[in-house]
Subunit: 303 residues, 2 copies
Amino acid sequence: MPKRRHLPLTALRAFEAFARHGRMSLAADELCVTHGAVSRQVRGLERLCGARLTQGPRNNLKLTDSGERLARSLGATFDEIERSFVEVRASADRELHVSCVGTLAMKWLIPRLSSFHARRPELSVRVTEAYSPVDFTREPFDAAIRLSDVATVEGATVTSFLDNFHGPVLAPGLIPAGAHFPSLGALPRLHTRPHPQAWAEWAGQAGMILPETAEHREYEHLFYMLEAAAAGLGVGLTPWIYVAADIAAGRLAAPFGFVRTPARFQLILPEQTPKRGLAHFRDWLLEESATAPPPPEMALVGA
Amino acid sequence: MPKRRHLPLTALRAFEAFARHGRMSLAADELCVTHGAVSRQVRGLERLCGARLTQGPRNNLKLTDSGERLARSLGATFDEIERSFVEVRASADRELHVSCVGTLAMKWLIPRLSSFHARRPELSVRVTEAYSPVDFTREPFDAAIRLSDVATVEGATVTSFLDNFHGPVLAPGLIPAGAHFPSLGALPRLHTRPHPQAWAEWAGQAGMILPETAEHREYEHLFYMLEAAAAGLGVGLTPWIYVAADIAAGRLAAPFGFVRTPARFQLILPEQTPKRGLAHFRDWLLEESATAPPPPEMALVGA
DNA sequence: CCTTGCTTGTGAGCTGACATCACATGCCGA
DNA sequence: TCGGCATGTGATGTCAGCTCACAAGCAAGG
């Protein structure tokens, strides 16, 4: 099993540093090793080459002709490697890859991104839909947005940027003419598979006892459920921010108002090697969320 | 203590191989590691870059745009490194660095080298004078020539190319007119510091009892001693090959002839990574030594 | 549909390349 | 002659990077 490409890269780098500085101890400083390490590397390289690369007395080493030629070539080459490496890293710095719970991305984040691009044209944002807890050591995300009431994440800093309110929504046409409220017992109740206990939580927070209902329907995603609600298939329970626009446009009605939940929308940033530009993204996120309209308050429901 | 030049060379090489082959398993074969090693290196590089370099399903990985750009640059660059490395090694292959006992170099080897250069113009020979036992793992020699009766050297192959004969020599003018032999007791006996027991060995091999002598002189090197002998300062003991030319030219006389010693001139070659061209050097050495004239035989000395 | 075979991803654990430390060695200038 | 400064090196430590073995994703053929 022959090593076809068995270049002694470590030794070549050590030699190149030595050639540039003229002294092993300086090269050692640059590479953050001891002079002995550089000495061994250079010696090993000479053995591999079968030629002397250095000459002269110990305290005033010079390069041989071969060494000079090798060093000249290596210098340019390592520069080139470094250049393309940092270039890739820099271009990566210009792109923020954000993992975001899908509904917020679709209903709130993506529609507003153009304002971020306008402010920071040098940065571009890529949004990927995700729901599971984020692990920056395993996934290539630069930031994550989640709806959670956990205030800390191991190895990450958490910034809450938006309070959460939730409440029932339905198609305006389902509210009986002349009434302010529909009867929650008379309509199908819509659920989502990821969060089946949502209605029970809302009832607890709203101080309501949910009446029995004729029908339950379950949807894979919250935004499917919202489409169903808008189409008049029943009453859905949703965070306010997802439907603020639909309510303003009259596609959905929220006759019971919204109630605050313990969970909040959080920006989660890795503590290890956070990308430049994330601070701008966080600032923008905080400003943008501050302009969000407050939700209609919880209405007192007639029993 | 910042690592100014902390390029992940191993990871970059692994990535470059992967990019060239398009599959990690092939890159792994080239680098003589397992596919897992390449996978980890590429993944680590992506983390360092902060950008994805690969995309697509596991069984059909492709490069991202960033990866493509990086790979293009790295490919050329590693080629360049390899090129200059093998170039240095090749140029080193053309030069044979021979460690040789000084007197043989001066009196025999160097005067004949032109015939080697004429036969092998692509090879050049550099001769360095040395006497101590050679250790190829510590000294940058490609070959060594020694006078020794030890037939094997650890980690090296030994080729004897010239028998050794030694005998007394002196300035012709010191031989009394009309006599064939000078009186060994009447002349200063010349010694060398590295080999002070030479006279005693010779006496044993020649079956002679050395008479007391008026004076002993010691020289640092054999060739200083030979100069002293030629200048008429006494009788020196020397290997035949060193003085063959001086005897032919009449500068020295060897009235007692020469006697064979157990030691022979040996070419010692390293077993590890012997340099191309050494076989030619050995062949030439054997041919050249075969043409050496035989020494005058040991003369029977009148008591 | 399931199976088979290709690929890459990864947890656990080992190992040797490469580092350090401390001392030796060699050259220089005061 | 001696102290200062640079590199060379034997002994020893340690972690980057490897292997192993298994998991998992995808494709194609039965």
